[in-house]
């Protein structure tokens, strides 16, 4: 998921549990369920989806709609440890790891009642992979895995015939209406996770073409998106369907009457697009919203409020933040200097003083809530004396370092965090460095040029809970010259590349875990970046919302949105 560094308030995790049930796990009986006309929830999605075509969605506020209206072949289980069948009933992988055969769910129907067929899946995947439509999530997930898709970047997008040749050459097949086969370029143990991405559902060719006013050439960029403009032509296969879109204001979801999994309890889900977290907080208090993310400034108010504090829920997000040094710039090419910076940040103090004691300090890469979370390597732990010694060992003087600046995005949260961090560095290393605060777009364009010394907080949010999604960001690739959006600091290591490439392709999960662990040790020990904290959500949820399955992968401010099909409103 696109991690936004300007994220809103988040949380303190006291427990190790990351799957919590909002109604305490108590069983529901038909007696305490609210009447169907009361099965309505109002949530804040923050921003309107930029597109209602799931293949085009790249932000969590978009995926939240996409995932409820459309369904992918597989989805993550609540614990984030493995995939479970959804649009497919089952799947099998050939022994060479190259062919994935999905047996489609029998009886699965679109919201207009037609059966979902293998041809719909092929059409959906081709729509996603059409280079003319430039869907944000194709690269690297799909073009680096599906057979034939490696030519994605070289297709001439102005030529319909070139696009058709490319699309028809992809490893996508529908041998019969109930079977969808995907062939890969190379074995990829993580591919089962790739198909859980919300961008990869089936689509209806007849609806897309009807909305476009007839068939269109493959190089057309606007007609293929006409169907996603109004609710009547957004026909999905997910548990809910869109009944109304009021642009920039709200979108209303109602049950898909033809969903294979049966009718949900919720009769109406209204997702509001309220950008100001304080407005949402006020609307929660006046009963207009049923769940919100608490604005950072109000966290202490909520903690001290006898009523609100009982409605607060805290859970981890699969997001880690770190500070970046420009390793192309001396002396940051020296691992000792980087480690000195990593060891001179008091992370617990940062979280207590600046972040309202919500986030959790972290000294490693993989966050709590998915496979690979491992706190055993404490090489980056806070130790000012050791940090100073490392600087001395590297022969770096304060004068050399004082000219460096910490590049900072001009948002309140980034500024407050960085003011604390630069103060830590200055105090603990005896320096006098400054912040360089500028607007966000300029920061990104400077990062792209490598025009910075120190930058942060930068982070990563899981697209899916497989370690490949994380470790790949530090692989150096000839097609993706550094610095790029995954690796601004340009740290690289051939040994790391070899290790992660091996782990990505091997099929034995234990062997993969072992290799990823070794790769994480490299990142930590060489201080590729300085890990600082894991993000937590600090939400308020009305006590009458029951049956929520809250996971670390939930979309922001929408607790339990991956499993809303099973949630309900109790009498109140």
């Amino acid at each position: 998921m696109h991690l936004r560094v300007s994220i809103r308030a988040v949380t303190l995790a006291a427990t190790g549990m990351f799957v919590v049930s909002a109604c305490g796990g108590g069983g529901t009986t038909s007696q305490n369920l609210a009447a169907p006309d009361k099965q309505i929830i109002n949530m804040n999605d923050g921003t309107e989806p930029n597109s209602y075509d799931p293949t085009q969605q790249t932000y969590t506020y978009e995926a939240a709609v996409g995932r409820n209206v459309f369904q992918t072949l597989l989805v993550s289980n609540a614990q984030g440890t493995d995939v479970v069948p959804a649009g497919a009933e089952s799947y099998s992988v050939s022994s060479d790891g190259l062919t994935y055969t999905f047996k489609l769910r029998s009886g699965a129907k679109w919201s207009d009642g037609k059966a979902v067929t293998a041809a719909d899946w092929v059409y959906g995947y081709k729509h996603l992979l059409n280079p003319a439509l430039a869907a944000g999530y194709v690269d690297p997930f799909f073009d680096s895995t599906i057979k034939g898709a490696d030519a994605y970047s070289s297709v001439d997008v102005s030529s319909a015939s070139a696009i058709d040749t490319f699309l028809n050459g992809l490893g996508l097949a529908a041998p019969d209406p109930n079977t969808f086969v995907i062939t890969l370029q190379h074995p990829a143990a993580f591919f089962k996770w790739v198909v859980t991405l919300w961008v990869a559902p089936p689509l209806r060719q007849d609806i897309v073409e009807q909305a476009a006013g007839g068939t269109f050439a493959s190089n057309d960029t606007t007609k293929p998106e006409a169907w996603a403009q109004k609710s009547s032509t957004i026909i999905g296969n997910g548990p809910f369907m869109i009944s109304e879109i009021v642009s920039k204001d709200h979108v209303t979801l109602v049950p898909n009457p033809n969903y294979w999994g049966g009718a949900p309890h919720f009769q109406k889900i209204v997702l509001w697009f309220i950008e100001d977290a304080n407005t949402a907080y006020a609307k929660y208090q006046t009963g207009d919203l049923d769940a919100i993310t608490v604005p950072l400034a109000n966290v202490d108010v909520v903690r001290n409020d006898p009523k609100l504090s009982k409605e607060a829920k805290v859970y981890p997000k699969l997001t880690t933040f770190w500070m970046v040094t420009n390793t192309k710039k001396a002396p940051f090419d020296n691992a000792d200097v980087r480690m000195a910076f990593a060891k001179s940040i008091d992370r617990d103090k940062l979280n207590k003083q600046v972040q309202h004691d919500i986030q959790q300090s972290i000294l490693s890469f993989i966050p709590k809530g998915m496979a690979g979370y491992d706190t055993s390597n404490k090489a980056q732990s806070f130790d000012p004396a050791a940090a100073k010694a490392l600087l001395q060992k590297a022969g770096v003087t304060a004068d050399q370092l004082n000219k460096f600046k910490l590049l900072t995005r001009n948002t309140t949260r980034n500024k407050t965090i960085n003011q604390f961090i630069i103060d830590q560095w200055n105090t603990n290393l005896g320096l006098n460095m400054q912040l360089d605060v500028i607007d966000s777009k300029t920061v990104t364009s400077r990062l792209r040029k490598g025009d910075f010394d120190l930058y942060g907080p930068d982070g990563w949010g899981a697209d899916y809970p497989d370690q490949q999604d994380w470790f790949d960001i530090y692989i150096s690739s000839p097609t993706l010259p550094c610095p790029h959006g995954f690796n601004w600091g340009c740290w690289s290591s051939p040994a790391y590349d070899a290790l992660v490439s091996k782990a990505d392709t091997e099929l034995d999960q234990n062997a993969r875990n072992k290799d990823y662990k070794a790769a994480q040790d490299m990142l930590i020990n060489q201080a590729a970046v300085a890990f600082i904290f894991q993000d937590y959500e600090y939400n308020l949820i009305k006590p009458y919302i029951g049956g929520l399955t809250i996971t670390a992968s939930d979309d922001q401010s929408l607790p339990g949105d991956l499993f809303w099909h099973d949630a309900y409103v109790t009498q109140h």
Partner: protein, 342 residues
């Protein structure tokens, strides 16, 4: 004709000649309006040129994200091709002008497949509604307070009115908006057990409008009141007002017919731009009250470098502002007999 004492019939004493002049003034008014409308074309052209240059020189591309996973170069290249951003800037500019001539303002980069015209059409009614309501509140309240303060100069009424105006002008509207939300939504909800409160935000042609309209109006009310007061004070010291009093006219007539008519000239001058400012939207009021208007859309377009949307809204704003000024100039003809349109 018998002349009733104390109420000379206006116009009765005026020579015919003046009526003729008025006719010619109205005639030249038509020419004036047409000429001014034609002048808008080069104005809009230069607005486009300047916006285009500034926009393309601002750092960052529409495809940069605020953090985390950036789109890969492959996708960015395809997006540039899709929206014609791979062409030279000058060619893009000519293409844009050509499309604008055909009333095609392009597709938004942020919202897939949505045209700028659609987006503006969706957002502007909200903003225009709130802006117009605020204007309808500002004119009577602002002018009324100003006249009241001037007529009761240096009394408690004057001090209270001007004190209010100073406060309203000093508080930024995000503070006023947030305070009102806490007071009239959250706390009122608590005190009344949820039976009565104003909605903390959102849209509806009902009590949803109260807080945003008041928040939006306060500063212009303060400004209009101060201006009206100053201008009225100047007017009531004129000889013709003394004459009006001397004739024994009742206060109501002196104020409405003689004072207001003349003291409103500078006020009308500012009300034009004020109206333009109101109906082009306030990003703060729209954000605090979660109104899906055009003011917020414009700022979001700027921060996300949505070039067609930036251009579209800028062109709209420049037309609205030019039109508001034109209306003010036309109103002068009726308010101020000294004004000659050339």
């Amino acid at each position: 004709m018998a002349v009733i004492a104390g109420r000379p019939k206006r116009g009765a004493l005026l020579p015919k000649r003046v009526t003729a002049v008025t006719d010619s003034r109205l005639g030249s008014l038509g020419v004036f309006v047409i000429r001014r409308i034609l002048w808008m074309i080069p104005v809009v052209f230069f607005v486009i040129v300047i916006t285009f240059i500034l926009m393309h020189n601002a750092a960052g591309s529409p495809w940069d994200k605020a953090g985390g996973r950036q789109l890969s170069q492959v996708v960015v290249d395809n997006l540039n091709k899709k929206y014609g951003l791979d062409k030279p800037v000058f060619e893009q500019f000519l293409l844009y002008l050509w499309n604008v001539l055909h009333f095609d303002f392009g597709l938004s980069y942020q919202y897939q497949g949505k045209s700028v015209v659609t987006l503006i059409g969706e957002g502007w009614p909200y903003t225009a509604t709130i802006g117009t309501l605020a204007f309808l509140l500002i004119v009577p309240v602002g002018i009324g307070l100003g006249v009241l303060a001037a007529l009761r100069q240096n009394t408690r009424v004057d001090y209270a009115t001007m004190g209010f105006a100073t406060l309203a002008a000093s508080f930024p509207n995000f503070v006023i908006g947030a305070l009102m939300v806490v007071l009239f939504s959250v706390l009122t909800y608590k005190w009344t057990g949820g039976n009565f409160f104003l909605p903390a935000g959102g849209w509806g042609i009902d009590d949803h409008l109260i807080m945003p309209v008041i928040t939006l109006s306060l500063l212009p009310i303060a400004y209009t009141a101060r201006l009206t007061r100053a201008s009225t004070l100047e007017t009531i010291r004129q000889d013709y007002i003394r004459t009006a009093w001397a004739k024994g006219l009742p206060e109501r007539l002196v104020v409405i017919r003689h004072v207001l008519k003349n003291s409103l000239i500078p006020v009308v001058t500012t009300l034009g731009p004020t109206f333009a400012f109101l109906v082009t939207g306030s990003v703060i009021v729209e954000t605090v009250f979660s109104i899906p208007g055009i003011g917020r859309a414009f700022v979001v377009a700027v921060t996300s470098r949505d070039y067609p949307m930036i251009l579209g809204t800028t062109v709209l704003f420049s037309i609205v502002i030019a039109t508001a000024n034109l209306i003010v100039d036309v109103l002068y003809v009726f308010i101020d007999p000294r004004v000659r349109l050339t």
